[in-house]
């Protein structure tokens, strides 16, 4: 049964050119990325101007949209440097910029024809605020992560504007844009890309009035958002775009999120429901990437005490690691894997195809390019393994993390 519902766009993070290709290949409808400046991820690889050309071409050739983040709270000096960059983005025909500051919105409107999306960093939380931003020329609102899906539907209706919501990933505990701990304790402007993640620190809390002290608390750390179980609510609410957080995260994360959510959306489009064991399989897949405990946070009800991730961060028993990427295949001869994490002869690996079931393989033979036989790979090497029929170039290869 084919469904006539308007399906939301799946928007995946692209922290680098490689990750953009991964996101696109694994099913994202759109990607968001940063240039070398003006975003909130100074430590990410981000894109040089030349990588942007290649990335935009790669995405557009496959019908995937590209949004560029300019969501820092920019200072005057930044604004003067911004003009040249946004004109360049306009020439590249990127599909939108994601902005959090009114001065940046107006600068983009003044100098380009680019679409402007309002970043979650602006903490737009209600329809009155959305109406204001619409008047300022914004065409889409990425709502604050405190807004429920039901509230988002109301905002969309009241303000008559495109709505984007986060569906998966790490969460700020503070209202986005309302945390300056890094600014005042580490001299790093969190709202221009210098967040030091002080909210993930371990704290001791002293309640003097209660004569009580509590040690080893991660009281400001949030569990990760996982909206797979309520994906149908997003669809029914008419949310225009569902966004995966994580430009700093791994290739495996980018691949897994793009694959799982795109397959889930396709399934719903075809069947009109999620009444299938596939849902359990997708959930298992989401657990295979490194993550804090998942929670729906504010999507249905207000985030309560159960959404605090009050523990030290560690790899879980279900975690997988990316061991490499397929970089070449020669029909019926061999495939080449660019190794990121070491593996051994005899190990069981999984190749994550762009669509469909994972390919499990046991490594029974490995060579270096000069045909030298090896029993253990090293990171940053290229190894040959026997041909695997169903795999494709850029497939991610993963293995279970052994505790």
């Amino acid at each position: 049964m084919s469904n006539n519902l308007n399906m939301p766009e799946l928007l995946s993070p692209a922290g680098s050119l490689d990750k953009l290709k991964v996101a696109v290949s694994y099913g994202a409808n759109a990607v968001y990325l940063g240039g070398l400046k003006f975003g909130l991820r100074s430590a990410a690889d981000n894109f040089t101007d030349e990588e942007l050309i290649e990335g935009v071409k790669f995405a557009h050739d496959r019908g995937v949209l590209v949004y560029v983040v300019l969501n820092g709270f920019l200072h005057d000096q930044d604004l003067s440097e911004l003009v040249e960059f946004i004109k360049y983005l306009d020439e590249l025909k990127i599909d939108a910029v994601i902005v959090s500051d009114l001065g940046v919105v107006q600068t983009v409107k003044k100098h380009t024809n680019l679409e402007v999306h309002l970043s979650t960093q602006a903490s737009c939380l209600n329809s009155h605020s959305a109406k204001f931003w619409k008047k300022m020329g914004v065409t889409r609102i990425v709502l604050g992560r405190e807004v429920s899906i039901a509230e988002a539907a109301k905002i969309k209706k009241e303000a008559d504007i495109e709505i984007e919501m986060f569906i998966h990933g790490s969460m700020c505990m503070a209202y986005s844009g309302n945390c300056v701990i890094s600014n005042f304790t580490q001299g790093r402007d969190s709202n221009r890309g210098g967040c030091a993640h002080s909210c993930r620190f371990e704290y001791t809390l002293k309640f003097d009035e209660l004569d009580f002290e509590s040690k080893n608390k991660y009281f400001m750390s949030s569990k990760d958002l996982n909206g797979l179980r309520v994906l149908e609510e997003f669809i029914k609410a008419g949310i225009d775009s569902i966004k995966v957080e994580g430009r700093m995260k791994s290739h495996l994360y980018t691949a897994t999120m793009s694959k799982v959510y795109s397959e889930a959306l396709s399934f719903y489009k075809e069947h009109g429901h999620f009444l299938s064991d596939k849902l359990l399989e997708w959930e298992e897949e989401l657990k295979k990437v490194t993550h804090r405990t998942y929670a729906p946070t504010n999507l249905i009800e207000k985030a309560d005490a159960s959404t605090i991730f009050n523990e030290r961060e560690h790899a879980s028993d279900t975690d997988y690691k990316m061991v490499g990427r397929v970089i070449e295949k020669f029909e019926n001869e061999f495939i080449l894997i660019e190794v990121r994490n070491a593996f051994n002869l005899g190990d069981e690996l999984e190749i994550l195809p762009f669509k469909g079931e994972k390919i499990t393989l046991k490594i029974e033979k490995m060579n270096l390019l000069n045909e030298e036989i090896i029993e253990r790979t090293k990171p940053t090497t290229i190894v040959k393994i026997p041909f695997v029929g169903q795999c494709e170039i850029n497939n991610i290869v993963r293995a279970k993390v052994l505790s």
């Binding site: 500051d101 939380l125 001299g187 509590s214 005490a305 390019l369």
Partner: protein, 386 residues
Amino acid sequence: MKFTTYINSLHELSIAKDAGAEEIIISAKDLNRFSKLSILETNKLLKEAKKLEMTTLLEWDVLYTENEIDSAIKSFHEIDLDVVDRVRVQDLGVMEYIFSNTNKEMELILENGNHNLFGIQTYETYLGERLKKIILSIELNKDKLTEYIKELKTPVEYLGLGRILLFYSPRKLLAPIISGEKEGINYSENSYLEALGESEESPHKGFPIIENSHGTFMFHIKDLFLLDKMSELIQSGLQFLRIDLRFYKDFSLLQKITKAQTSDDIQEVKELYGNKVIRGYYQINKSDVLFKKLKNYRIQRKDESYIGEVIEILKGNYLAIDIKGSTNFDINSHLKLITPEGKELLMKIVSMKDIKYEDITEVENQKIVLINYMSGVWPKSQVYLN
């Protein structure tokens, strides 16, 4: 330059009047992050302030999601707006609501970000004549502050003394700890809790933390103190200096502050105040200079003659290059390699193979090529035609 301050009681109102304050900020707990006043108490205080011919500023600074703002709007309309001169707002939804649904004069709190003049002037243009004051961020240093005061048509307010808010979350973060560990205490949705936080991962100890019905707030361990810069602030043309004594034990300090004339007077205020203080970013804001250290720019590609990146090194055998650029090269090309440590190495290609380990002399459609080994090269070294 005039002083503006928060008041929470008739006693504080009387002190503020005696101290010469011409305007005061009042609010109700339903609308304000830290007020403990009911609507009834707020209305009473506003009326008394008007009787004293003071300018009354109702601060509505809580951030609201769609469902919450409806309830806050109801609370707002329970306020006796006849005794409110202006509404101070921060949430842009609240700003838009007041602007579109009332005829009240407004003050706009732009302390959160808003570090460029173009943006601030856009707000100024949008709100027009009804905008009576802009509250600027303390992350703007004195030069920027002076520049903005000159350029803006609207009077400016800047924090002169008070706590520095670092973190605002709608989630209750303290109550779960108490509920889980301290027996015999039950906390309701509207409980008020205070704590001091410290982390071994930060050199700063004793962050004041408050939880109330609006969420959890964390402040800097030191308060902002710019009273010793008063003459400089007056010269800058600043119209309003905010003295925030909401978290200080003795409101009567306001009288000493407004009457302070000499550096000795200021010093006395500082000593009486007692809390640790800083000037924040008042002198200079260099909060972006550390960004250069957050990643290795040497492994970032620079084009023109860019070829690609070394992805594998087999000692004594070959370097594998992932071709990423569009620069042509062949077996006799001279290369420049820049290692992740920043070392520049020069080499000539004397042998070249494809990934089937077959000799080639030029690059055709290959994505990866193997060239002769050179010592000192590391994976992620960037390769350029020299």
